[in-house]
Point group: C2
Chain length 571, copies 2
């Protein structure tokens, strides 16, 4: 798409602005259809973004996104229209704001709830440096459930600065938004809001304005101009109501299904989430203690059917990862058997609660950690490559990594009879495979040889690499024992002690620091064995395909093969 | 103290109840004076706890504490009066609620903000199991700033259960409570609260009652009885105003200073926090970009003087560890140089933000991590033994561990010129020592020998153990090189590569998994060196002195010496 300049936006008539909106909307639709990405949320935010670029002066003024998945129109309108069709490709435009990509992106995001805090920090730095620009936080209504937003609002008075909060209210947070704040927003949107609902926000020391139709420039432009003016007197919250998927009826009608679109060349396979849902339903039939907890992601975690069949035992608390963890711990303390399903990087938000509430009390909460390992196109903030590292040192926790969907099913079944904190981490999709019973802390020998070399891998991608390396090594006359190290904690000490191999290679779909490789090295300390470990090197993984990232960042088939070959040559 | 029974409480007259309060208060004062612990908050909560035990039936009803440091009266009134004088001693009564200690403790705490979530989870389990008891969350006003409390309140409607929230409002959260919610509470307390302030709470779907004087049984008992009755119709929040330190004028007048009392036999030394305050003030004089951020702990982190001298550049955002992290990141994004001081275990709350906001953007935020290592008497939730593990795998982060207060000063000075994320972790107090310039990633050789053995230790306690082991080994004719491994990341690769020793011993005041030992093992993988690493074993460290914990949980001088001796014998 051609680059629309600030000058063009400034001088455009209302009909011309509408045309620009259509141009932007079409480019988003075309690009996301080809590259995958966030669709409905971006379609809904086109008018709002165009209006923002008309009324404010970026990058002089600062636009802070929350989550940031709705930044596509902003990227097209700033300085990246020519490169936009590289969206989410390795080396191309990121699907999220990136300071390193453009001066128009002033703050990186990816997780929910940070924008108000971030805007306050930037505004405060501005004040201290006696600079003069506006800071705008664009926050979805889903994020308004997150405790972090509340913490930021609560400190507005203390910080004594001014920001504009744009509450982009589309009633969704992947799943529909829930909770007390949402109910106030609904009343305000419906024209039934009272002074009371307004005060919900104003009590924190800002002026509430709205609601305005965020897909109608005629309403939106004067509202934004007005907010900009009022900003001189202090912080303003402008409540903007947008329609997720606006402009494309099939998106408007299915905002949940069109929230994220996989690229047409995406990695296929069976979804682990679907298997989770089926297994949990089967378990819940037999065991009334089983409950499911999620933080606003019922569908993408495979829990839809469970929620429909067992509504009493289903809890979606909104984008509140910490609360969901404590709730799970307390449900367990009260005698239930909770399964808390969540994406790997989002669970980082509940890190303290995993330690303090779940493992500290040794409670039988099962963390179903989806999107673990390199997830690909969403980039840095969505790569689930730290979970083995941040879980391994937590006392009382058992960590399981299935080799395929079949083994995952077996692990979920096993979990029903396990009475302690358990984490099962798995990618989005993969191979089916059989479901043979799994025992806590027992590895699986996939290929046994008398070779001096043993390879230990956990998870589907690493085991796939290991298998391919084994085939290629075999062709060169080299063989090795291959083991599915499906428990990173506890390790299978008995099996490890029985191995006489002198050379041990480990592979994991996780940061090299702190995962399986380190656990094996710790186990074998003083044994005289030589160990080579493969995992992601010490860097944030950008967007790209998982395959590209694996090869570039430390899980390269070639490198593993070379290591095996080298040892064989000098053994 | 004698055990006061439920029967005695039930039949007691008001004057008798007041006598019981005095008895409890005296026992708390006496015990804390001897054992150390939380004083003022417990003195303030005596009447409230006595009233709770009179009106409710524990352990049938469930009392969930927030933070839990105010549980002393509860422990005396439940089943631990006879053992109370073992408070905070190894093997004695914990200073926090512990399920393993008594059936009267239904949920373990130590960090702020979990009680409402936990009470909701327990209540929901009750409903599902069709049991009948009341669940009470006792929450201080300081915790009401924490986002987790908001997340829990926001989901009250969704969860559709009933709990009683007792808001114990003493106006303090170690430092005085701040923020928008606090202002509403102040108005309500002052009798100036409007419908509006009440609605702040009621909008979440509960009934607000209060404020009542929480130190006056005559007001308190009927209020609690009334709340219990209203609870039949849904959740209730009872606003109870208490005086921190009640009954002891010097505590009432200095609630901050008497919040925590060190035992008279506590470990002395120079406070790192005081050095932090001095160094930051000196830096801030010269550099206008330096700002300080804290989450409600200005004094205990040594920042009082900085806050007084540079109020514009000082931010206490209340008990909001996550918000404080994002705010720090954004201040840095806006061009400032933030120092975020916080206790090691509380920083766990900001784990995602360290990754997502600070290190993901490679911003120059310095985390000043106080109370790192085994802290002792506060037990499991306050032992700062995980930070090296949860920080080591985060890309872009530099991690420094000073050997004494002098080196800590040098590190803080060094940080001023360092342009990336930096964590400095240190204990509460220790030796003074000189302040020679420190270079990023450079170890210090403390004792150089031609021995086959090298010992790498980081931090004051491990280096102290190392020195003692060296003296004892020397007496046996064994010597080794001793190195201050003051950067856990990056390691001093040049120095490590230059070491020809065959046997490497590491020591750290951190969990054995994921810290210095693992980093050294990773560095030396394939080198053929034999490595023995000492740190805390894979368990939650209970209360006890740091010395006791070190010996019992993996940092024993004897064990280290034995290892050295063993290697020497078979070298």
């Amino acid at each position: 798409m051609r680059q629309i300049t600030a000058g063009e936006l400034e001088s455009a008539s209302l009909p011309q602005l509408k045309e620009i909106c259509e141009e932007v909307r079409e480019e988003i639709f075309r690009t996301v259809s080809a590259c995958g990405g966030h669709l409905s949320s971006n379609l809904g935010a086109v008018e709002l973004t165009v209006a923002l670029h008309r009324v404010f002066h970026f990058p002089h003024d600062k636009l802070v996104f929350d989550v940031g998945h709705q930044c596509y129109a902003h990227k097209l309108l700033s300085d990246r229209a020519d490169r936009f069709r590289t969206l989410r490709k390795r080396g191309g435009i990121s699907g999220f704001p990136k300071r390193t990509e453009s001066p128009y992106d002033c703050y990186d995001t990816g997780h929910a709830g940070t924008a108000v805090s971030a805007a306050l920090g930037i505004a405060k730095a501005r004040d201290l440096k006696k600079e003069d620009y506006e800071v705008i936080a664009l926050v979805g209504d889903g994020s308004f459930n997150n405790g972090l937003v509340y913490e930021a609002l609560n400190s507005l008075h203390i910080l004594g600065t001014r920001i504009l909060i744009l509450l982009n209210d589309n009633g969704m947070s992947i799943s529909p938004t829930v909770g007390g704040t949402h109910e106030a927003l609904s009343r305000l949107k419906g024209g039934e809001g009272g002074e009371d609902d307004v005060r919900l926000f104003e009590r924190y020391g800002l002026t509430y304005r709205g609601p305005v139709n965020g897909n109608d420039l005629k309403e939106l432009l004067p509202a934004l101009e007005g907010a900009k003016e009022e900003l001189k007197g202090g912080s303003v919250l402008l409540h903007v109501v947008t329609k997720k998927g606006q402009g494309y009826p099939f998106c408007e009608n299915a905002p949940l299904e069109t929230h994220g679109i996989a690229p047409s060349d995406g990695e296929g396979g069976t979804e682990y989430s679907a298997a989770l849902g089926e297994e949990l339903c089967a378990l819940a039939e037999k065991d009334e203690k089983i409950v499911a907890v999620t933080a606003a992601m019922t569908d993408s975690l495979g829990l839809r059917t469970f929620f429909e069949r067992f509504p009493e035992r289903s809890f979606d608390v909104g984008i509140c990862e910490e609360h969901a963890s404590v709730l799970s711990a307390a449900l367990a303390a009260g005698g239930m058997k909770p399964y808390y399903a969540i994406y790997s990087t989002f669970l980082q938000r509940a890190f303290d609660e995993i330690i303090h509430d779940v493992c500290g009390q040794n409670l039988p909460v099962t963390f179903c950690i989806d999107r673990a390992g390199a997830t690909g196109a969403d980039g840095e903030t969505h790569q689930g490559v730290f979970d083995l590292s941040y879980l391994s040192f937590i006392p009382n926790l058992t960590i399981a990594v299935p080799k395929d969907v079949g083994e995952f099913r077996a692990m979920v079944r096993m979990s029903a009879g396990f009475n302690g904190p358990l984490a099962i981490r798995y990618p989005r999709a993969g191979k089916d495979g059989r479901s043979e019973p799994v025992e806590i802390g027992k590895f699986e020998v996939l290929h046994s040889t008398m070779s001096d070399i043993v390879m230990l891998a956990c998870g589907e991608r690493p085991l796939g690499i290991a298998e391919r390396v084994r085939r290629r090594a075999n062709a060169e006359g080299i063989d090795f024992t291959l083991i599915n190290a499906r428990f990173v904690k506890p390790l299978d000490g008995k099996l490890l002690n029985s191995l006489s191999a002198k050379y041990v290679v480990t592979l994991e779909d996780n940061a090299r620091i702190g995962g399986l490789g380190d656990a094996i090295a710790r186990f074998y300390a003083g044994s005289g064995k030589e160990i080579s470990s493969f995992g992601y090197r010490d860097a944030f993984l950008p967007h790209g395909t998982p395959q590209e990232l694996a090869e570039e960042f430390g899980l390269s088939e070639e490198d593993v093969l070379r290591c095996v070959r080298d040892f064989y040559a000098r053994r």
